[in-house]
């Protein structure tokens, strides 16, 4: 099983720690994981702004970079959802549509493909899980509160394997954080208010950390936390799953 690691552009540039943790975690679990060096972006920033027609170059590049792999794994529910719904290369239609089925968000790859039951990691802190909407509702990483259906949560299942972690329960388990791509600047006032409310929920529960399957949500929340000089920190879920006591 050959796995290609897709590192979203902003994670590559601003949060290499999340990508390093993802890579090391997969390696630790014995996965034959590779990082194609010429990757850039999934194309979502353009597409969600109404410029899907400008994503052809990104799509072609993605197909080229990841054609050789059995699975493509990425530490971002949002980028993965975009690729699964929109990856299409007109010159190689069949191949690009088939590739959609091979793309996995990291936590779903760990639970559904690797069928992970144990993890050797510890994280002795109070942690709140912010479920990115695209991962949760789009990919189905966890049951959503809107539906009348049995509860499950792939990210929580993994976090529960961590020693000494204290998971806090949020008042609104799956409220959007307000990042929303270009929404965060186009609708600055509402975006920030949503982020502040999301932060306040974690604060009420006494969280030390906010974690998520999406670094983009965390980037937005971190911006608000830092501006307000909060002691709460953000960490991508891969960094917790890969965390060992020093």
């Amino acid at each position: 099983m050959k796995v290609g690691l897709f590192v979203p552009c902003y994670v590559d540039q601003f949060y290499p720690g999340a990508a390093i943790a993802s890579l090391q975690l997969l390696q630790k679990l014995g996965v034959d994981v590779h990082y194609p060096l010429n990757q850039t972006c999934c194309g979502q920033p353009m597409a969600n702004s109404g410029f899907e027609h400008l994503t052809l170059g990104c799509n072609a590049l993605f197909l080229k970079n990841f054609q050789a792999f059995d699975y493509i794994v990425s530490p971002s529910g949002s980028c993965v959802l975009h690729l699964k719904e929109h990856l299409e290369v007109p010159a190689a239609e069949q191949a690009s549509l088939q590739m959609r089925h091979k793309i996995y968000e990291l936590t779903e790859f760990l639970t559904d493909i690797l069928k992970l039951e144990h993890l050797d990691a510890s994280f002795p802190f109070r942690v709140g899980l912010h479920l990115g909407c695209h991962g949760q509702r789009g990919l189905g990483l966890a049951q959503m509160s809107e539906k009348v259906a049995p509860f499950f949560s792939k990210p929580l299942k993994l976090l529960n394997m961590i020693r000494d972690i204290q998971l806090v329960e949020l008042d609104r388990p799956d409220e959007c954080c307000g990042f929303g791509g270009t929404f965060c600047v186009a609708e600055e006032a509402v975006s920030v208010k949503m982020g502040k409310d999301r932060v306040a929920d974690h604060q009420r529960q006494g969280a030390d950390y906010i974690t998520s399957t999406d670094m983009s949500c965390l980037m937005h929340l971190e911006g608000i936390l830092k501006r307000n000089k909060s002691h709460i920190r953000v960490l991508h879920i891969a960094e917790i799953l890969n965390h060992k006591d020093k």
Partner: protein, 452 residues
């Protein structure tokens, strides 16, 4: 002003935003509890969706079936192509009976058509009898929510309004007292008006009857006392059989407010002796929407408002920021069909979180349609040159790995050594948020150093 600017204004009073958000989220929670009590909830949604799909596929035949049955029942049927025609028909019905005063129970369609303003210009007085509608009418404001028209108003503000218009005690804000005052005031109108207009929630093709759902009984009182009953309906309100009501009535109010059913679900089948019953079937862009494969299933909407209550953006921007009779996520996919340029801001007033799609009792893929409207709007109405330029630059950088790496490096360099170029008031991110800290290297550089 566009949605973003109006939402910024709304957010100037943060406590008010909190109150608005919490009130609506409380209703969303009530909806959850009501839905969770029905084990077959998802099956009900699926059935409702399938019935509505069937209706949209055979709309032409269902409308004709409905019309012939309704005519047989003695209902006078009118067809209106657009808002102007609808208003003209209402006016001509009133004129024919020499009526200058009309009472109205809640009808979002008449809001969509701008009926009140149209009739007022022709010296016909309209009194809205739904309490929430009455409040916004007295305040000279449009409703901010399709089910809870005055949800943006606090009870103290309503007290002031009633003191001014209905003579309640100054400072009185007890909802019971205010409701009683409205009731007394409206009672006189009910007894004296000869015409009543109602909306329509469902029109049953097989029987030619229509069903109006209210909590206050005002539609019934109006229609039962008036000599002329006019009902206005969008042409998508058809359901094939009376038996289907069992599905829709169970879904409608649970989704809207968490109640098991509306207090009154009134069936109107034929006029009483001496009464005129008119039904106006309105298109106003609906058949155009039906012709758009990506957007047609928005016509399944039964106007429960669940998507508004759950929408994290609506809750924090208020209904008026949408500048359309129907606000929130559903409004944002319906409005561009009527005028894409005028409502070009609405599909962007969303994070595409998808909550709307999953509370929707008839399973409209609202967030996917928002995404699709964005593509349409960019292609057909054009966007500001600066936005287009930035998107093209982004495209170039993200299609070319070398250029991407250069851009990334430059960005991180600037953040680190010249943060003032980014952290300034031209950058909307920076107004209330810190920029991420620039790391020493990108992941790629780390990988080349440590893993290759």
């Amino acid at each position: 002003m566009n949605h973003s600017e109006l939402a910024r204004d709304f957010n100037k009073d943060e406590q008010r935003v909190d109150w608005h958000d919490e009130t609506l989220f409380w209703i969303r929670n009530k909806r959850d509890k009501a839905a969770q009590a029905i084990p077959e909830w998802e099956q009900l949604r699926e059935s409702a969706s399938a019935i509505k799909d069937n209706v949209l596929s055979g709309l032409h035949n269902y409308l004709l079936e409905f019309e012939s049955n309704a005519l047989r029942n003695g209902i006078k049927i009118h067809w209106a192509q657009d808002a102007a025609e609808h208003n003209l028909i209402v006016h001509s019905i009133l004129k024919a009976s020499g009526i200058r005063q009309m009472i109205k129970s809640k009808s979002m369609l008449t809001e969509e058509c701008g009926l009140n303003a149209y009739l007022e210009k022709r010296d016909i007085e309209v009194i809205d009898t739904d309490l929430g509608e009455r409040i916004v009418q007295l305040a000279k404001e449009p409703p901010s929510h399709i089910v809870l028209p005055c949800i943006h108003k606090k009870k103290e503000e309503i007290g002031t309004l009633f003191h001014e218009h209905l003579g309640t005690r100054k400072g009185e804000s007890d909802p019971l007292v205010l409701t009683a005052a409205a009731r007394e005031n409206l009672r006189a109108a009910f007894l004296s008006r000869r015409a009543a207009l109602t909306g329509v929630n469902f029109a049953v093709a097989e029987t030619g009857e229509f069903v109006v759902c209210t909590n206050e009984g005002n539609a019934d009182m109006g229609a039962h006392l008036a000599q002329v009953h006019i009902a206005s309906m969008g042409l998508e309100k058809i359901i094939p059989k009376r038996a289907h009501l069992g599905i829709f009535l169970r879904l409608l109010t649970r989704s809207a407010t968490g109640q098991p059913i509306t207090t009154y679900s009134s069936h109107f089948q034929k006029p009483r002796e001496g009464q005129q019953m008119h039904l106006i079937i309105v298109d106003n862009g609906r058949s155009a929407q039906l012709g758009k494969p990506d957007f047609r299933n928005s016509l399944k909407c039964i106007r429960c408002g669940a998507c508004m209550n759950t929408c994290p953006v609506y809750r924090r921007s208020g209904g008026h920021s949408y500048q359309h009779a129907i606000a929130g996520p559903i409004g944002a996919i319906l409005a561009p069909n009527l005028d894409m340029e005028q409502h070009a801001d609405l599909p962007f007033a969303s994070t595409l979180c998808g909550s709307c799609t999953h509370v929707c009792p008839v399973k409209i893929n609202i967030h996917e349609q928002l995404y699709k409207w964005r593509q349409e709007i960019v292609k057909k109405t054009g966007v500001p040159a600066a936005k287009e330029m930035s998107m093209k630059l982004m495209k170039n950088a993200l299609s070319d790995p070398a250029l991407y790496r250069l851009a990334g490096k430059t960005g991180r360099f600037l953040l680190k050594y010249a943060p003032f170029t980014i952290n300034n008031h031209f950058n909307p991110w920076y107004q209330q948020r810190e920029m991420p800290q620039a790391p020493e290297t990108s992941f790629r550089s780390w990988y080349l150093k440590h893993q290759k």
